[in-house]
Symmetry: C2
Subunit: 404 residues, 2 copies
Amino acid sequence: MNGKATTTRTKLERGRSALGPALELVHTGRAPTRAVLTSELGVTRATAGAVAAELEALGLIRVDSSPGSAAGSQGRPSHRLSVLETGPVVLAAQVHADGFRAALVGLGGRIVATSPGCVAVMADPAQVLGEVVEAGAELLRASGLRCVGAGLAVPSAVAEPEGTALNPLHIAWPAGSPVRDIFAACVRRAGITGPAFTGNDVNLTALAEHRHGAGRGAQHLLCVATGHRGVGGALVLDGRLHSGSSGLALEVGHLTVNPEGRPCHCGGRGCLDVETDPLAFLTTARREPGPEESLLKQAGNLLRTEYDDPAVRQAAEALIDRLGLGLAGLVNILNPDRIILGGLHRDLLEADPERLRAVVADRSLWGRSGSVPILPCTLAHNSLVGAAELAWQPVLDDPLAALA
Amino acid sequence: MNGKATTTRTKLERGRSALGPALELVHTGRAPTRAVLTSELGVTRATAGAVAAELEALGLIRVDSSPGSAAGSQGRPSHRLSVLETGPVVLAAQVHADGFRAALVGLGGRIVATSPGCVAVMADPAQVLGEVVEAGAELLRASGLRCVGAGLAVPSAVAEPEGTALNPLHIAWPAGSPVRDIFAACVRRAGITGPAFTGNDVNLTALAEHRHGAGRGAQHLLCVATGHRGVGGALVLDGRLHSGSSGLALEVGHLTVNPEGRPCHCGGRGCLDVETDPLAFLTTARREPGPEESLLKQAGNLLRTEYDDPAVRQAAEALIDRLGLGLAGLVNILNPDRIILGGLHRDLLEADPERLRAVVADRSLWGRSGSVPILPCTLAHNSLVGAAELAWQPVLDDPLAALA
DNA sequence: GCAGTTTGTTTAGTTGCGGCACAAACTCAG
DNA sequence: CTGAGTTTGTGCCGCAACTAAACAAACTGC
């Protein structure tokens, strides 16, 4: 009998229909009406109508055909599409140097509920993740909503396919912790349904900003961000996160941006990492750095409130120049059509946008690629929303299968 | 037995969707038999049979159901699939510092005919491209085969969507020449049918090696190569060339690999470009560089024949160390699962593979990503074959539409 | 109130492909 | 040589997803 031995992935591999793409369009806000959905999908009105009706029947979106809410343009007003407020949610969790936080996130990146951020971060990942998942489970019980998955953002590169955190330096976890499995175990133990995913926070920030924030519409989106210590990067290509063959792409912290700069633990000198993080800024500006978990806020405040102080301004300009050098190097390699900056890099951009753009343009090989727009991240809780995107992905890929 | 002449129902519109993927599998040699095609496509035997029959009817592949040619394994032997030798071809052209060359390339990267390489390269792109296309048209007339497109490889970044050559330094063309349009005009004027494409030679080398050479099966393939002067890079992601938002990605020549190195025209010091090309090797080895168009051969010969000379060996090791530094930087950013090297970089790899691998592993952030395999390019005329791939792409995407 | 425009809905095909049953071509054991 | 076992090719049926076309509905502007 040929029944069991057939190993072909016949059913799962086939995209079932336009359901997934349609949901993604509503999810990212690119299909506000059924007419737009029709043209974006490139199908007939009949098909788009059937697809929208099915997504509504699945309890994912709302199709609003009320009469008077109209448009102003000619012709019959199109039905409005929106995500359903009472639809399913995913559990999103974030661990960083400040502590951890859990949230429920609906389609469209809508944060339904968040736990208060907790400050204590312990050296045992299982304990931390157990607590944060429990906080999320509590939110879930209070809300009464259906949960279809869970996502976690950690401040470390996450190696695939093992799901281990390689450099969770800022949160005192042992390097190589199997965070994905630990998180998945916590999720199961808390009785939360659906698959569990784990990713690097900057990667997830980029994903969130691409779908709901400053990266919307970009085809080659580069995101660079500093937290309290260290620099992270991420690349979103054609709507998909590019994290390399083993999840370790865009580790941009060790680009050389200052050959005579300070030594770095990687063995080189003047790496982007040690030249453009909050600690570098504070020491360059001759300020006493505070406790590690508040370095980012301290540096940001200094930039915003004392930019007329020559020492602060000089330090900012030095960092901007080095950041620009690093970004130019990345532009030459990746040729993105948009760059977004987070953390202290975002503050540096806003302190003197022209200077940063000029440096990048000057050190890029050709004007065209160097004139790439550089924008600040706009989304609140962007890595939380990004963690949610990870959990939403199966639903976006195949709503029928994911909700079954 | 002989192939059955008539299918009962001639449904010429049969396969819209699986046709392209099926042709690509045969084209890249990943579907030697219909049984493999069935499992690779993830469809039923019936579907794969229909698809193969239609590709045969289109004159693209051959389905060999002869009896005795069988396999040795159990069960009924599967029909063999191969590209049809008398099927259509594309015109491939290449311009580089040595001169230019035209060829006819069939499916499977098979070079059907090549013109003798011509040495004279003139400063007027229209004249050069006119001559090379005419040489190709002559091959085509002599062969009597059908031509379905044309592709050109140039030693310069090609900006999209304009199709202009930004830095054709080695061939004395004016920067910004609209090479794509010039080439397309020459192709039309020569009476050659099908669309015409233009790309950077290293990009096309990577594409060719990915489909038919040392890059086969890699999901994230990085290719780095030096010609006579200057370094180029390319990235193939999931079988598709990644050339950035405007075709300028992987301009890796100006990564800093030697902070105290020689000055570069880009304004920096110690760029990969000026530290690892043939001229750098020859001067470091204290040899008199010959004429520019034979630098690559001179350096390669020196490496192979006088590696026991201490000056040569020292120079090679210095270049290997710097190349390794540059590759490690790229590994940290792109996290490829395979690296292939061309030109002088290939020769350096073969001179001391262990040294290069050790440097890359040492300067990569994590062992895992640093232990990426580094291989030499294997394909003869790889940028010619790559130019052909460009022209084949529409056929691979939708055979019915492209051959209509 | 009417023409013009745009969109939603219904109905009738069309098609790519899975599922199944069976035939064909091979290997191997005896 | 023969029959069992295995793997693959082929014909047929039907479904699910889509298109095409005709019609109905809801808006604007004159």
